[in-house]
Structure formats: structure tokens, C-alpha cells
Subunit: 325 residues, 2 copies
């Protein structure tokens, strides 16, 4: 099968060479879009070259995809797919028998590691100790012992339970606590205690740690609002590696200021990039990483391997990994 692959994701040279070698075997070709980016999150610009492609890899413009029925497979380079999560887009893909995949498998493991890193960093009071090292260098033996909280045996509520939540639940398993997952529609295969809307307030009140993994959608806008922060156990900790839009940030800052939320570690926020003068950077007990939870130094190689495995499956007529439509 001689395929034309369009991409607006700028693979690193090593990964690009591997992909080109694979394509050369079947006389395929790679069209690098003029609007390419190294960021997997950058929205794609409209590109007439997409008309020649069988496969679009990266973040193609949704309108372009709708206008090009030749496309048989849209391979998204991200885990999130908000800009494609529209009724008209889904209907068109289904109607023409086109496939859509995301790259959830690439990002889930680093994201879950990132959340566990944040939980344990707060549990062991590491930020404060780094500031001590960079500052007075006091010997804070008793203070830092008293300020530490063991994660073992704690109650942890995951808001959303996709690939990241599943991986995080695996990491949390040896800690022997209670892990609850909030899902609107339980599937029965979660392997942890599942909470629906009816039980959410009780679950929020029970949790020592609330981890927001929700994607961006009309239903999740400001999901964590003042009322839900108020429902949390006083002093519990909050994490966000879902999307910034799912949190009412002024409500979070107020909850941090009052101590209702003991600390927050955010990897996503609104807007991104977060301007240097934004008050979230200096909110009380609020720690920020720059939407990098899913990334590692091997991200590019892992993305390329994920795409090439799916390309092999596509050519062999096998089911694709991370199919979303």
C-alpha cells in the first residue's frame, strides 16, 4: 500500500529518518506541512497539501479534515482531542469510514508519574526544603519531619478515569490506601471504587488528595468550582493534569488562601502559556509546572514508535491502538 502521509508535527531528525525508511519500503511519502510545530499541542493551520494525503498525523485543521474525504486515518499527536470532539466531525468520520486515533498511550505513563511525583513532593515537603537549600540552609530536622505526611493509607479521588487514571491507580496500589475514580458512566472494568455524580460530594469530603484528570469539554467547564472546593476535606490537596478550563481558578486561589485546599500542584491552567504576572504563580501553596506532565526526553521517539506501530496495523488491517473514532 503506497500511502501519502501529511504531518504538521515536526519530528526530531532521528524519528523522521525511521519513519521515512518505513515509508520507503512501500513507496510511500511524507508531506511536511508548512505550518509544522515541535509542540504537540499547537493547533494546526489550514493547509491545501492535506488534499493529497491518505493519513494526517499531528494536529490537522478540523475543517481541512472535513473537506478531504480521501483521508482514511487522522492520527492525533496528543492525548487531548477537544478540537475534534464535535458532533459534525464524529459524524463525518463515521459516515466515510475514517479512523481517528490519539496518542494517549504515549502520554499516560509520564502523566501518571508526574502526578505521583507532585503528590510525594508535597507529602515529603520537598519544595520547602529546596527553598531552604537555596536560602538560609537551616538544619530543619524536626520541622520537616513534622511537616511530612505519608501517602500510604490515604484516600485519593481521581476525577476522570482514562489511561492516566488507570496508570496512576497502578502506581498507588502499593501505598495501600483507598482509590476512588469519578466517572459519569462506569464501565465495570475500573478495578477501583467508582463514584458517579450522586456520590461525588461524599467522595470529595473523604479524599486527602483530589486529582483532576478531566479533559476539556462543554460538560467539564469549571467543574472544580467554589462549591466543589468547599465540599473537599479541609486542607486536602488538589492536582490538575487534565485541562485548565475544568477549574475555576479564582475559586481555587480563594480556597488556597483560606486553607480549605491545603496545597495545589498544577500542570495545566488557563491561559497557557501562563503570563509571568498571572496571580496563580504566586497563589498560596500553589505549585506550577508548564503543561509538561506528559512529556519526557523520549517523547518524540515514543510518539514516532506509536505512530509507526499504528501504521503497520493500518496497512495490515488490524485494529489501531488508541482509536477514539
Amino acid at each position: 500500500m503506497s500511502l501519502t502521509i501529511w504531518t504538521n508535527y515536526e519530528l526530531l531528525p532521528a524519528s523522521r529518518v525511521l519513519l521515512l525508511a518505513e515509508l520507503a519500503k512501500t513507496g510511500g511519502r511524507l508531506l511536511q506541512s508548512i505550518g509544522s510545530s515541535r509542540s504537540v499541542l499547537a493547533p494546526g493551520k489550514s493547509d491545501p497539501a492535506l488534499a493529497e494525503a491518505d493519513i494526517a498525523y499531528g494536529q490537522p485543521d478540523p475543517g481541512d479534515v472535513l473537506r478531504n474525504p480521501r483521508l482514511k486515518w487522522v492520527a492525533l499527536s496528543t492525548a487531548g482531542y477537544t478540537r475534534y470532539d464535535r458532533a459534525d466531525f464524529r459524524a463525518a468520520m463515521k459516515q466515510r469510514g475514517s479512523l481517528v486515533t490519539n496518542a494517549s498511550a504515549v502520554f499516560a505513563n509520564p502523566c501518571a508519574e508526574h502526578v505521583l511525583a507532585q503528590m510525594l513532593a508535597l507529602g515529603r515537603n520537598l519544595p520547602s526544603q529546596l527553598r531552604n537549600q537555596d536560602g538560609h540552609r537551616a538544619w530543619r530536622y524536626l520541622e520537616d519531619r513534622a511537616a511530612s505526611v505519608s501517602l500510604s493509607g490515604q484516600t485519593i479521588l481521581l476525577l476522570g478515569f482514562g489511561a492516566i487514571g488507570r496508570r496512576l491507580a497502578q502506581f498507588l496500589s502499593p501505598f495501600g490506601g483507598r482509590v476512588m475514580a469519578y466517572r459519569r458512566t462506569p464501565r465495570g472494568d475500573e478495578g477501583v471504587e467508582v463514584v458517579t455524580d450522586a456520590g461525588l460530594a461524599t467522595a470529595l469530603a473523604a479524599a486527602d488528595q483530589v486529582v483532576n484528570l478531566l479533559p476539556d469539554s462543554p460538560a467539564t467547564q469549571a467543574f472544580m468550582n467554589a462549591a466543589r472546593f468547599h465540599q473537599m476535606k479541609h486542607g486536602a490537596r488538589f492536582y490538575n493534569v487534565g485541562r485548565g478550563t475544568t477549574v475555576d481558578q479564582p475559586a481555587l486561589m480563594a480556597a488556597l488562601e483560606s486553607g480549605q485546599v491545603g496545597a495545589a500542584y498544577l500542570d495545566v491552567m488557563e491561559p497557557e502559556p501562563l503570563p509571568a504576572e498571572h496571580p496563580l504563580w504566586s497563589a498560596k501553596n500553589c505549585f506550577i509546572t508548564c503543561h509538561n506532565a506528559g512529556g519526557t526526553g523520549e517523547q518524540d521517539a515514543n510518539l514516532a514508535a506509536h505512530f509507526m506501530e499504528n501504521l503497520r496495523r493500518f496497512q495490515a488491517g488490524e485494529p489501531l491502538v488508541d482509536r477514539i473514532i
Copy 2:
């Protein structure tokens, strides 16, 4: 059994009340030594009051213990027991049929959490991102992705394999990597790959992360010396929650400076407290916490519960938890 318990550990009031209530049931009494300390690590001063005691709890002076054959049980408030790990002390305890316990079970879990927190903090590049938040507040999306390394699938070498190593191996299990434990004398019940002296150089060369859990003893003095740092994989990371004396610190600083050791996270060092002007505080890629790995805010309650469970066992003639002699 009406027992007299001497202690030089200064329990918090809540824990003290519980212990006194337990002792009151059998007409027992608590002698609080004049040289008491809130630090579990402080060496005890000689105290004539020990002569009245059946049980010594805390860090009694070893000479005092030897001079008081009435003592039936020495309950150490620490995991480390270097100052009691002497041939004459062991022989005297065995000869008179006295028991010695440490508090390993209390400290092992927080210690293992601390090491995992350090590993993941470095893996996710959190220290650098905190410094960014406290400084320029740049949006370091691509840089921090590239600087992150997944712990999953890595090779981890534990130097020493007692209670902390076992717990850490449990935490590392879901990461699916290779965990090796160095022990001079394998017991066969480790559940992970065991390395002895013969295989140590090969194991050091294979490991992405080397975790030093060795106690202080004549055999472990400067165990991690220049030669062993040189045997490590270039850029691998080093952790120390054992004892500071087991590391040749100038050799570690040189290895950090050259990049041979990619980063170090130390909870123990020599001396302690580490003076503010000590070069280790500002060594390249070296992160320091103040010997607090074993501690949590619940440490005192957990220590008291550990001692009271052993007191129950002692009175019932059952085997003690964490018996070392």
C-alpha cells in the same frame, strides 16, 4: 507485671498520655530521664535513674545498659543502632537474656516514600521548575518535557536491603523496571535480583539510579568512594538515606561536577547538622533534605504505638517486632 520504664525520648503529650494509661493498668511507671530529647537521633546521656528500670526506651547510654543487668529490654527509638552495634554489647545482652529492638517498622515506609519522592522529583525535573516559579516564570513547555526522564523501565540498584529496601521495591514494582539489591549475604527471600560483592561493579554500571540505604558500620565507611562512583553509568543518579559516613563526600562532589553522577539527592550527610557554609549545599545538581526521610507528622504517634504493641508482646511473652538482639 508491674514494670518500670525509663525513657530519654520526649514523647508528645498525646502519646505520653496513652502510654501512661497503659502502664496504669498494671501499676507500672514511667521514668523520664533528665537528659531527654525530642530528637530520636540524639545520643543519650548517662543517667543513674536507669538502675531502677526493667525497660529502657529511647537512646540509653550503652555503658549504662551494660552496668544495669536488671534491664530486660532495650527499645531503641531509631532504625539505626550503630552505637549499640558492638561485640561487647551484643555479648552482654545475649548472656543475660535481654532483648533489644529498634523502630525500623516506623521509619521504613516514610523513608521509602522519601526516596521515591526524590527519584520522581528528579525524573520530572521538579526542582528546576520550582526555581522557575520562584524566579523568571518562563513558560518552559518544551524544555521541561525534554529534561524529564521516565522512571518506568529503569534499572535501579539498592545498596542494602532491609525494611526500607523491601518497601521501596514494592513501590517500584508497578514501574516495571529492573530492581537489584546489593547484600553481602543474600538470604534468598529478597524477591528481587540480589547482587553480592562479586557482581557489584557490573550492577553499578547497569543502574540508572543508585540508592544507598547502608547503615553506619566499620565495613560501610566511605563505601561509595571515587572508584565506585566511577563504576556507575555516566549520568546516573545517586540517593542517600542510609548514613552520611558511607559516602566519600569529596568524591561525590567531584563526580557531580564532572557529570559522572548526573544528580544526587541526599537526606544524610557528614556532619549533621550540615553547616550552612558546607560546600555540599551548593554542589552541582545536589539536593539536600535534613535527615527527615523517616519522619512524618504522625511519627510520634506511630513510635508510641510501635512501643506499646511491643510492650503488650513483652508482657504476654510473645516475640517482639523489630528485634535486633
